[in-house]
């Protein structure tokens, strides 16, 4: 079983994707998902993610393979946007289907920690009419370090 890993350059429908994923893995008792969306908190007006084609998708695919090697999953989905987004738009969707709940939680958690700190994306936010590049946070590295 291979992971379903996609770099999306246009908006994706997270509910439809998750519905399809859960339906495709009905032999799994549990599906854990993480949806990251552009915060609609009034502060950020737009968000843009940049990727580097030769590295970004191959890196996501390698992450998918690493997650599948580490936990016994029935299915793994990793979708990540690139390009311009507005508040409320989905940025990332990770879903793990497993017979055992704990495996699905750990796999989704691990995938997110590594997407955040290791994937080849660069993010900038527009606030008050001004674009600003988002620096990686120490927290992101710490999250990843939990996995040894």
């Amino acid at each position: 079983m291979a992971a379903d890993v996609r770099l999306c350059t246009a908006a994706f429908d997270h509910a439809a994707e998750l519905e399809r994923f859960a339906r495709a893995h009905q032999q799994a008792g549990g599906v854990v998902s993480f949806l990251g969306q552009v915060r609609a908190d009034g502060a950020v007006e737009a968000l843009e993610l940049q990727h580097y084609a030769p590295l970004t998708l191959p890196g996501m695919e390698a992450l998918g393979a690493a997650v599948l090697a580490r936990w016994p999953l029935d299915g793994l989905l990793i979708l990540h946007r690139s390009g311009a987004m507005l508040p409320g738009d989905p940025i990332v969707l990770v879903a793990a289907a497993a017979r055992h709940r704990r495996d699905a939680f750990a796999a989704a958690d691990y995938a997110m920690d590594h997407l955040k700190s290791e994937s080849w994306f660069w993010k900038r936010e527009k606030a008050g009419g001004t674009w600003r590049w988002v620096e990686p946070r120490a927290e992101d590295y710490a999250d990843k370090a939990r996995w040894g």
């Binding site: 994306f121 660069w122 900038r124």
Partner: protein, 77 residues
């Protein structure tokens, strides 16, 4: 000629996402850039990819049509 690619905030500093440069040793290529840009590119947290493959070595010689990408720390998800 060779091509430099600037990802993320490096593109703002360079005034564009890419730049044509004369082929040759990387240190000479960098020496010909604006000093603040060259300094930013030499930051140890900036990784490089030559023709789409990560390279650890900075003692590169850029050949004709080579593409060298400068990759600052990532911030995804």
């Amino acid at each position: 000629m060779a091509r430099l690619l600037f990802l993320g905030k490096l593109a703002d500093l360079a005034g564009g996402a890419e730049r044509e440069v004369a082929a040759g040793p990387l240190d000479q290529v960098l020496a010909a850039l604006e000093p603040d840009l060259a300094l930013a590119l030499l930051d140890e947290r900036v990784r490089t990819a030559l023709n789409g493959e990560l390279v650890g070595e900075r003692a590169l010689v850029l050949g004709e049509d080579d593409e060298l990408a400068f990759l600052p720390p990532v911030s995804g998800g």
